[in-house]
Amino acid sequence: MNTKSETYQRLYVSDISCASCVNTIETALKSLPGVEDVEVNFADRTVNVSGDVAQDVLIKAIAESGYTACLAQDNAKDADKENQELAHYKELFKKTIVAGVISLIIVAVTMLDLIPDLTTFTGQVSWGIISLLSLFVLVYAGGRFFTGALKSFKNHNANMDTLVALGTGVAWLYSTFVVIYPGSVAEIARHVYFDTATLIIAFINLGSALEMRARGKTSEAIKRLIGLQPKTARILREGNEIDIPIEQVLLDDVIRVRPGEKIPVDGELTEGTSHVDESMLTGEPIPVSKKVGDQVVGGSVNKSGSFLFKATHIGKDTALSQIIDMVRKAQNTKPEIGRLADKVSSIFVPTVMIIAVLTMHIWFNFGPTPKLTYILVTTVAVLIIACPCALGLATPISVMVGVGKAAEYGVLIRKGDALQKAGQLTTVVLDKTGTITEGKPVVTALEPSESSSEEELLKIASSVEINSEHPLAEAVVEASKERNIELSSIESFEAISGHGVKALYQQKTVLLGNRKLMDDNGINLGKLSQRSDDLSKLGQTVIFVSLDAQPLGLICISDPIKTDSKDAIERLQEKGIKVVMLTGDNRATAETVASLVGVDDFIAEVLPQDKANQITKLQEQDEKVAMVGDGINDAPALAGADVGFAIGTGTDVAIESADITLMRGSLHGVADAVSISKATLRNIKENLIGAFGYNTLAIPIAAGILYPFTGLLLSPIIAGAAMALSSVTVVTNANRLRWFKP
């Protein structure tokens, strides 16, 4: 499935000054392959382009025709949306008040007996006026229910509007009939229900308004993320620093960020150093130090120094925009648990209509007199009390809040299904390198043989290893740099897969690698052999170096364990989850790391391609398995697991193989994700039980099931209030998740 979100792109061209500019730009863009239509708006200096073309290509084409273009961001859209929502809320509120006030007037005149009996002419006229007054309420405050019901009906569809329109419509029609033909109804049944119809409309409008308010809060996480982006950037142009709107920042622009300011777009630091607070994006609480060449992320806050950076990603390509996009998309997905509610709500309204007809039947055939009154009260109550909204909202509204909450902690959930599965995990498999450990090996000890020295050992090893791309080689070279050891060139270099390397150094053969390499070449390691065994048991990786068949020494390398790995693993275990470590390292090293961090089990000496098989094996034992890795080397394992976590990817969110991306390098993200998922799942269940329970209890009560035992019937007005409250309750319950702390 290819989803393309950018069929339309809006660009801002600051230097459009005449009609001919419009033509030039149009011609330039229309000549690009993929462009379908171009619309240049001279007034607001924007260009709308439709078609499948990259932003960069468009901007470049405009630049080549002599203009400066940048992305026009639709900040206005969000503001528009908020204004629209506010307007809608106000309108609902106004309708509630109008309907409420008129209802109260009707209730008052009825209760105070201000209007004469219907059999009199004055009574008929007065009630006729009230009928018109309530018709006004139905049309003004409830008109949308009637148009919606009619439209749905024509489409062979039925929804909440259908129920409200039927309920209030029947009440009004019956009452008006009684007013016009009072004689045709037995005296005992000569009631009118105008107040019922208008009060129901008032309650439902109030419910919609409250629900809308509460719903606004469910998308707070997204609003917060959008709010992270600053409005302006201070760019360097022709030696001057000028403030420009962020939409006008171009790729490769050099931007100045002063202490305390937000970084406007993504880029690479070119001058200065600083500490940057990325917590709002990654959840990482400690500011990250930045030097020349480091990446900085738009939306993060510069804490200390002033620096310059070059923009590398702008507009929709920035990490922040991608995060927002991903969270939005995830909020719109539904986990499996919501499927049943969806199925029920698809047949809900017609079913309620059938129940209403059956209710009518039962009261008609078996009910007491006056039958008409009982039939009307119960049927209207059934139609009004049934709430498909609560059922429909139960799952998605909790997912919205849950996914947003996770994003606050730097946990990006791709789909609602992952949210559900993460709450049901029984085993978490952690890749060792880069997940439990830092993933950056460092030299921890040098042990030269008696005839050599530390310096010689490191010099020869580094001179060889600088030609290798192995991560352990990097550690060796890094160690020689720290000691300012000058490297020599070598005459030849050969990698021996899985064992090490062989090189010619000053006409002497250097072997560098594991014990097998030494054994295969008949090198007697002597005392170094025992020493290596001891070090391996401590979790160190040992590299032997020999020069002309004589051992030169050994180099210990280890990948430090992340400081919080142990705590995070404990947190997972406290949740009853079994934690397993997976590594390609030898057993001894793996055992040491496993015992240091306290995992329940470990699987050592696993080749990268076999990681996925290990996950399958666990799944065959009926475990619900999560795999946590870097998302690159272990993509098949991540994809095969019930939930794949990509960890420590910074702000790179585009990891397709992962169901959940952790922007922070810490394993606490896994524990946070599990906690939030469990809480969200619980919340969904509460909502579903509430919504199902409400409807299965309330509908029979409204139909009058309690009447034979208690003699009580539910007033349709109460039914209206209950219905209005039920969906507000669901949204409010979901909002409780906002205060959840994992």
Binding site: K151, S152, E211, N332, C389
Partner: protein, 119 residues
């Protein structure tokens, strides 16, 4: 009189079942070219049944006229496609349905309902 009213009730139930569940013909449309306008208003997508060809990119231009929050989202659950629809401004949802079959699209509460039939 009693029998008549009972018969009317039975007729109503049969009618509800037939009209809402058994009657198949809805406002159908086939995408001509690659794009189609879908009006989102008063609880209904118009057209609500859309025919498309598998493997061909389509653009569904949603025009939302209903200001109630229910109509804001459109979700194609089985296709993993969703969108937030702005009020009053057309929104183009472009994607390529690869699989053949019938895929429902709904609002967040599944009150608005439509069907994409990929042939």
């Amino acid at each position: 009189m009693g029998i008549l009213i009972n018969l009317i009730g039975v007729f109503l139930i049969v009618f509800i079942i037939w009209w809402f569940w058994l009657y198949k013909k809805q406002s159908e449309a086939t995408i001509e070219g690659s794009s189609i306008d879908i009006i989102v208003d008063s609880g209904v997508y118009e057209p609500s049944v859309i025919h498309a060809k598998a493997g061909e990119e389509i653009t569904l231009r949603f025009i939302r006229k209903d200001s109630s929050p229910c109509s804001e989202k459109v979700l194609f659950g089985d296709l993993d496609v969703s969108a937030d629809l702005p009020l009053g401004t057309p929104y183009d949802l472009t994607f390529t349905p690869e699989k053949k079959g019938e895929f429902e699209f709904t609002c967040q509460m599944a009150m608005y309902r439509g069907k994409l039939i990929v042939e």
